[in-house]
Amino acid sequence: MGRYILDRIIWMILILIATAFVVFTLMYLVPGDPAKGLLGPDASYQVLEIKRHELGIDRPYIVQLGDFLYKTFIRLDLGISWKFGTPIAEDMAERLPRTLIIGVSSLVLSAFLGTVLGIYAATHKGKWQDSATMVLAMVLISVPDFWVALMFILLFSARLGWLPAYGIGSFDHYVLPIICSSLFGVAINARQGRSAMLETIRAEFVVTARAKGQRENVIVRKHMLPNALMPIITGVAGGLTMVVAGSPIMETVFSIPGIGQYMLVGINGLDAPIVRACVMFFALFTSVVILTMDLCYAFLDPRIKARFSHRKR
């Protein structure tokens, strides 16, 4: 088992290095001269040259790439923003909690609500409750979440005045972003949960449990749910990466200064170090979530466990 975890972590680091290479190259190819962007169109050639030297973008591609990889992976230094001159790591540390609060809370909300809805639909399969839940899920999947967010702002902030429309500060500011970020996940998890539960309805152990006269809600809780958990975990983990990857849009809608919005600041300001740092963070985050999910499988699923002990021998 230890060997497996080690293998996976090494592979994850390799992927991250490859991703860093891709990210660096993409940002290197972005058209436009950052020095000109910073100093304005009237800056003289000499001043621009000095600025370019200062930013380090007068060096050849391969040198810049090596420098970036060395700083990011060996010295864990994210660099300094070209535009603001502030250390990016500090800026990100300040913004990270906001993105994580929204990401994790909406994950918990969508996992819980989605699974409950999925179980509810599955146990009422074929009845109107099932159809109603699935229609709801279909609508939630099809409606763009940032538009729902705008509509919620209209209803709850502009009309009813219950919650603040944008910005950060109190807990109230996070209510709408969390709800809006979780809607898509609720729908996905409900569909996933329903089909995973229905898989187990046909299983023999459920028939046995029913034959021995077990109560229906115990069958659902003790026999069906644990066996339906794997696909549900997959859906939940996928949902978390979706929420975090969608954060640039959601944070724009609610004007929340989080990592996603920081990335857009970098993109719009031709501030490559910011974009690289944010994307590397997202990549690291995604990789860690996937790794955790795989390890969960390995621990939970006896079949996968058996495969390792087999391989070891």
């Binding site: 991703t19 074929g126 009845k127 159809s131 763009p144 309805i201 640039p248 993109i267």
Partner: protein
Amino acid sequence: MPILEPEDQPNSSFFGDFLGRLGRTAAAKIGVVLLVFIVLACFVGPLLSPYEKNGIDLTNMYAKPSADHLFGCDAMGRDILTRLLYGGQYSLTLGLTTAAVSSLISVLIGCIAGYFGGVTETLIMRFMDVWSALPGMLLAIMISAVLGAGFFATVIALTIGAIAGGVRMTRGQVLAERTKEYIEAAESINCSKLSIMFKHLLPNVVQPMIIIATMYIGATIMMAAGLSYIGLGIQPPTPEWGAMLADGRAYIRLYPHMILFPGIAIALAVLAVNLIGDGLRDTLDPKLRD
């Protein structure tokens, strides 16, 4: 796949089950009707509209919905309905192109990886691991930044973001198919590898891809709108749905009609495609049926 007997679904009454099945097929039908309606409206509607897509009319700034302007006007007095219909042309074309191109590429790569196996497969799949370490939306945002604004840049950005997932799925399908008898038969009569891949393997792995591609049309329409909303992708004054939402954002309190209708347009288009996708899945692929 044996037909499920009623006792397999202990909780369903006969009538409820029947309604459920009817609902399923009806859902797909609704999807088709809705999509045909949207396509007709977007490609024929603008011809009938008395307004230009960028026809500025300062007397009608922020006009609320009325008989003249069914969905009202935006900050420059442009008719929102007309702009929505034009925007639909972009969104639908973009969704279809992206889904078609990305699934074509990913089926090809996936087939090669799955059928040839060995070093080829390892290399391709490792490459895909890196590719999918970044969620599609982020990749699309960065590629949009590199390629700049515009229709084709957005198509390329969203296509690239979609390929890795499709390759994984196709490869899985190919792995399941390649041990079957008909491939063995084809190999034993000395079919060339290419002919086995294209003539025998491809038709059998392409069905799930069609389902995924249909679903992806909807996802693309939504992502394209998201990109435009944050100022990447297709830019104003092109009447793109997401860009229209971004335009109306500032007037949300006073003139909510400016953001109400573009959102409904996106939702209807995505809903139509998703309903069809669900219906296709239920009819084409009994294995995926719940």
